[in-house]
């Protein structure tokens, strides 16, 4: 059930998105849940729906891109925008617009290679580049350091929930591989985004079902292992409420409406 400022949201609300859209699927899960999802305003809900759709789209785009999978030792990035650090992360170069640097990962994707956790953070940033006005994005994320889950910007507000009642498109999840072959530590687990069709996107594996991801991880185990990889109940989520406040506080004249952004993104994806 969804409550907006204490009032139950009417089921008709879903009709403005269509049941096959990412937003429609998220709404369907939230509305049919036994859990009560409280939003202080309709705008907060709309913002979350928009960002979740953007995460799904950014995941699909990264999957189609030419960014390679690599371990940190062999990671690479476009030196025009990023400085590759000694530990294999990508640090935004001074004088470069953060939004341009994030977009470049998708534009010049073949110049980039990294592992799965960093790819998740890239998806988060790209999703927000597509939703937030450029000025706001660059103000919120003036310094970006892409290196697995370390050095995250405070303004992303990512929370790692140990367990959630409902898993939604745009949730980041983790397949753990406890018996990984020790000489393949990069396969100790796979970070994934849940998409709108029940499949997952994980960098290095692509878009697959949960069963297939487990099958792939199991092939990376130490010989003779009988302990299977498995999906953890945890889920990472952005602080949608915080980001929504930032979005709506931003001067209206500089804000691009979701609708025009949505049509742009759709055409980019097709």
């Amino acid at each position: 059930m969804i409550k907006i400022n204490g009032k139950v949201l009417d089921a008709d609300f879903i009709s403005q998105y269509g049941s096959n859209s990412v937003e429609g699927k998220v709404l369907d899960i939230l509305m049919s849940s036994n859990e009560v999802y409280n939003y202080s305003s309709l705008n907060d809900l709309k913002f979350e729906l928009s960002v979740r759709r953007s995460i799904v789209n950014a995941s699909k785009s990264l999957n189609k891109s030419h960014m390679d999978f690599s371990v940190f030792r062999k990671s690479r990035c476009n030196p025009e925008f990023w400085y590759r650090t000694g530990e294999g992360g990508f640090e935004l170069k001074s004088g470069v617009k953060p939004s341009d640097a994030i977009k470049d990962i998708y534009i010049n994707s073949s110049k980039y290679a990294t592992e799965c956790a960093t790819a998740m953070v890239i998806v988060y940033y790209k999703a927000l580049v597509d939703v937030l006005p450029e000025q706001l994005f660059n103000r919120l994320f003036p310094r970006i350091y892409l290196m697995n889950w370390q050095h995250l910007s405070y303004n992303l507000g990512i929370v790692d929930y140990i367990r959630v009642s409902d898993y939604l498109p745009g949730d980041c999840r983790y397949f753990k591989n406890p018996d990984v072959d020790p000489v393949k530590p990069e396969w100790q687990g796979e970070n994934v985004f849940l998409l709108d069709n029940g499949l997952y996107y994980g960098h290095g594996i692509g878009i697959s079902s949960g069963e297939r991801i487990i099958e792939i991880l199991n092939k990376k185990r130490i010989k003779g292992s009988t302990v299977s990889a498995y999906l953890l109940p945890s889920a990472k989520r952005l602080d949608f409420k915080y980001l929504s406040n930032k979005y709506y506080e931003f001067p209206t004249r500089q804000k691009v409406e979701f609708n025009s952004l949505e049509s742009n993104r759709e055409s980019n994806l097709s």
């Binding site: 000694g86 100790q188 130490i222 990472k236």
Partner: protein, 327 residues
């Protein structure tokens, strides 16, 4: 032990000079060149530097057992194909029980040159991981810990080593990590705080590092029997808490392993009849009871025996009276 000829050249004149001298020597007398490579006291970095030249001159057949194993280990890792521990370790292993010792030689004579190149570091990482995770050989743990901290100071890659390190250590090893909290090197303190973030006394806001160290040692000594490894890593989440206290274990004053291994209450443990009720409590109450239980157990075993066998509600009443309300 005397320093080997090639190590002396490498240390005093550098890697390029070592290569030139090796080429000259091998050109004149292959056996002499191999004799120097096969010196018992040779350090691993010298072999690593000479490997491409040994390959080019097709001298690998003349390497001794130790060097053959290390040469093949390096070649396989740097071939660039996905590694497989069985292939990596067993193809060349035969029945030689000395192979873990060769990995130790690579690590222990080689760690001082950590940072020589990306490839060199990758080989050292793999040797360390194989020692810890495949052979269960913890004898080089301190060196691996040193490497992690030294790399962190330089901003180099630490995550694979850190993963293998925590997969291996037990809570009894945490004192060594805690000692880094009082290091004069700020980056050591920073990393120690990150790695020990599951300990409540460890905080980035604490300026008195000596006090923090002492409080942390005290906490470890009071909780180490009840700690279990969570398996959470930097690949999985931010600020991973690598160990956690089993509140059930602490409540019953039983080692955490007894819970993990049996996936149930330890049979016959005093107070285990209360465990079901204990697990229904809110986290604050679980914390209160487990802390009180630990303190009372250390203070007076007779009183603890009486307390642990009383109803849980009565236990809370007593614990709150002594330690304060959870509210």
């Amino acid at each position: 032990m005397n320093i080997a000829l090639f190590d002396e050249i490498r240390i005093y004149y550098g890697s390029d000079r070592l290569l030139t001298i090796f080429q000259d020597l091998a050109g004149n007398n292959e056996n002499e060149a191999l004799k120097s490579v096969n010196q018992k006291n040779l350090q691993f970095p010298s072999l690593f530097i000479l490997c491409p030249e040994i390959k080019r001159l097709r001298l690998s057949d003349g390497l001794n057992v130790r060097n053959t194993y290390a040469y093949n280990f390096i070649s396989r890792i740097l071939e660039g194909e996905e590694l497989d521990s069985q292939v990596l370790l067993q193809e060349y292993e035969g029945e030689n029980p000395e192979n873990p010792e060769i990995l130790r030689w690579m690590l222990e004579s080689g760690y001082a040159e950590d940072g020589l190149s990306e490839e060199y570091d990758q080989v050292l990482d793999t040797a360390a991981i194989c020692l810890l995770k495949v052979y269960g050989n913890n004898r080089s743990l301190k060196i691996i810990e040193d490497m992690i901290f030294s790399r962190y100071r330089k901003g180099s890659f630490i995550y694979d080593l850190t993963w293998a390190y925590f997969e291996t250590i037990n809570p009894q090893n945490l004192n060594g990590l805690a000692a880094r909290l009082r290091s004069s090197e700020p980056k050591d303190v920073e990393l120690a705080r990150k790695l020990l973030n599951f300990i409540p006394t460890v905080s980035e806001r604490e300026d008195n590092t000596r006090k923090q160290y002492q409080n942390t040692l005290k906490w470890i000594s009071q909780n180490q029997n009840f700690l279990y490894y969570t398996g959470v890593t930097n690949n999985q989440t931010f600020e991973p808490a690598r160990f956690a206290v089993s509140l059930e274990a602490k409540y019953l004053q039983k080692p955490a392993e007894s819970f993990l291994q049996r996936q149930s209450r330890p049979a016959g443990a005093v107070g285990s009849e209360n465990l079901e009720r204990f697990n229904e409590l809110e986290d604050d109450y679980k914390l209160l009871l487990s802390n009180y239980s630990n303190a009372l157990y250390r203070y007076n075993r007779y009183k603890w025996n009486k307390w642990i066998q009383s109803p849980v509600e009565r236990q809370i009443e007593i614990a709150e009276r002594v330690m304060g309300d959870v509210q």
